[in-house]
């Protein structure tokens, strides 16, 4: 069989979000009799995360862990998936909606400009808030609260009267502790424990389902085309199990985090479905529509993209 060696570029250390890569690399090696090797390079060794699509384009590496939001204008239509309060209740739905959206031609064309293709979605739990100070039991409580929220989520929080600030992730712990802002949004639960935010917080929200900042396993089209069919099949067949492993990794993380939150006696601010509807109306919809309008202005099908995603969320999961 042909000997093929690939290199994949990842940001961050090995963690729950990277089990996909580790699994794919393992399967590739095992099922090809050691002939198809995928080297994983963590921690942005091969370039910064915001440059990963550049790296694919110039053939630095054959695959990458791409967070589209780091350089939004590189792939403008991806932005809709990062909209706040999208009705995506669980990780199974998330994979289904995101993969279907990525298959839509205008979206895949955008990636083609970078000589790139979406291979599979990297699942991410919905963002929630964790914070200090007065717990936000009603929507009005967000007024005047300084929060760390980026991008579309920041826009949404502004509509609730909060003041979004941008502080780099490693500075969040200190900033939250010292009161630079009163709440920070992250994927629930595992990022909160990773950044140790529960140690300096008093409460967290549950069911607010703020949305996600989505990521993909992105491959180089050149590399994919050159890959022998048998190896392509190995990777494609590995997808379902990779998704299952991702969900399992987050469940494991929750099992460790939640007792920590309980031990710290953090107050749980449960967000009822009615309140979420209100959130969508006041802080979700307007941001979606604004995004669609701005994207249309650039000559891109923003409205259609939004409708497409909303329609996808309503399709039953099978």
């Amino acid at each position: 069989a042909d000997k093929v060696t690939w290199t994949w570029s990842l940001y961050g250390p090995p963690r729950a979000a990277t089990v996909t890569f580790e699994y794919l690399a393992k399967v590739a090696k095992e099922k090809s009799g050691g002939n198809f090797t995928i080297n994983l390079r963590y921690n942005e060794q091969l370039g910064e995360a915001k440059d990963f699509l550049d790296g694919i384009k110039v053939d630095s590496f054959q695959g990458a862990f791409v967070a589209y939001s780091y350089a939004p204008a590189k792939t403008p239509l991806q932005g809709v998936l990062d909209m706040p309060f999208l009705p995506i209740p669980d990780l199974v739905t998330q994979a289904k909606v995101l993969d279907a959206y990525q298959a839509w031609k205008p979206v895949s064309d955008e990636l083609s400009k970078w000589n790139a293709m979406h291979f599979m979605t990297l699942l991410l739990p919905q963002y929630e808030f964790m914070g200090t100070g007065k717990p936000p039991r009603n929507l009005e409580d967000w007024k005047g609260m300084r929060v760390r929220a980026l991008g579309g989520l920041g826009e949404a929080m502004k509509l609730l009267g909060a003041v979004p600030t941008s502080v780099s992730a490693p500075e969040v712990y200190t900033a939250l502790e010292r009161g630079t802002f009163q709440a920070a949004s992250f994927p629930f639960t595992y990022s909160f424990t990773a950044y140790k935010l529960h140690e300096v917080s008093k409460w967290y929200t549950l069911g607010m389902n703020l949305g996600i900042i989505h990521n993909s396993v992105v491959l180089s089209q050149t590399a994919w085309k050159a890959l022998p069919d048998e190896y392509k099949k190995i990777l494609e067949d590995a997808r379902p199990e990779a998704y299952r492993l991702q969900r399992e990794a987050y469940e494991e993380a929750d099992k460790k985090s939640l007792p920590l939150f309980e031990k710290r006696k953090l107050e749980v601010i449960k967000v009822s479905p009615e309140m979420r509807d209100k959130l969508i109306a006041t802080a979700g919809r307007p941001v979606w529509d604004q995004w669609a309008a701005e994207t249309e202005k650039k000559g891109l099908p923003g409205k259609e993209a939004l409708e497409k995603v909303i329609a996808l969320t309503k399709q039953p999961t099978n």
């Binding site: 384009k57 110039v58 350089a71 590189k74 403008p76 400009k113 970078w114 300084r146 991008g151 600030t165």
Partner: protein
């Protein structure tokens, strides 16, 4: 050549001044951000993004200026050697530099071109990054010109060891290097 050196030097001085002003400005912006957020619930919109893009000013604009003064960080193990040998050592260093800078002018231009033609922006408020990315090949081109002037200057010194040096930094000896360090901290004798 003397004229080319003078014109280029003016340009370099001007760019380094812009870099210096950028630093001064950055300081005030930082203070405004802190005071605004602390006392007036006001944060500069897209602060991180603006700072990132503006950083390119002081990260690159002075690069040819520093090369002219022979300031880029290196080992200087030959400080005690005879000038006739040292001109050759310096020439070698500059030739190596111009080789890699030629490649990087092209490479950083392709980096700009991708951002310009396909699209790229900062994370938070989506500033286009191509103007800052364009700054890199421009600054490196200026450095390239400075390096070629220096190659000419060193070749001239090797051919005519007794000529008055033009377009080359004064030979760094332990003394001159240290005098520079001191002048930087304590002020030049004539400005005090």
């Amino acid at each position: 050549m003397r004229r080319a050196d003078a014109i280029q030097s003016h340009l370099e001085d001007g760019l380094n001044l812009i870099a210096a002003l950028a630093i001064f400005f950055l300081m005030f912006v930082g203070v405004v951000q802190i005071v605004g957020r602390t006392f007036f619930d006001f944060a500069i919109y897209g602060y991180i993004d603006w700072i990132e893009q503006a950083s390119v000013l002081f990260a690159f604009l002075g690069i040819a200026y520093a090369q002219r003064l022979g300031s880029h960080i290196g080992m200087d193990l030959t400080m005690g050697w005879r000038p006739s040998i040292r001109w050759k050592v310096e020439l070698f260093g500059v030739v190596v530099a111009i080789g890699i800078i030629s490649v990087l002018v092209y490479a950083s231009f392709t980096n700009f071109l991708r951002a310009y033609s396909i699209g790229d922006s900062t994370m938070d408020i989506r500033l286009p990054t191509w103007p800052a990315k364009l700054m890199v090949p421009l600054a490196l081109s200026l450095l390239w010109l400075r390096l070629s002037l220096q190659i000419w200057g060193y070749l001239r010194m090797i051919a005519h060891p007794d000529a008055e040096p033009i377009a080359v930094p004064k030979l760094v000896t332990i003394e001159t290097q240290v005098q520079d360090e001191i002048a930087e901290v304590l002020g030049k004798p004539d400005t005090r």
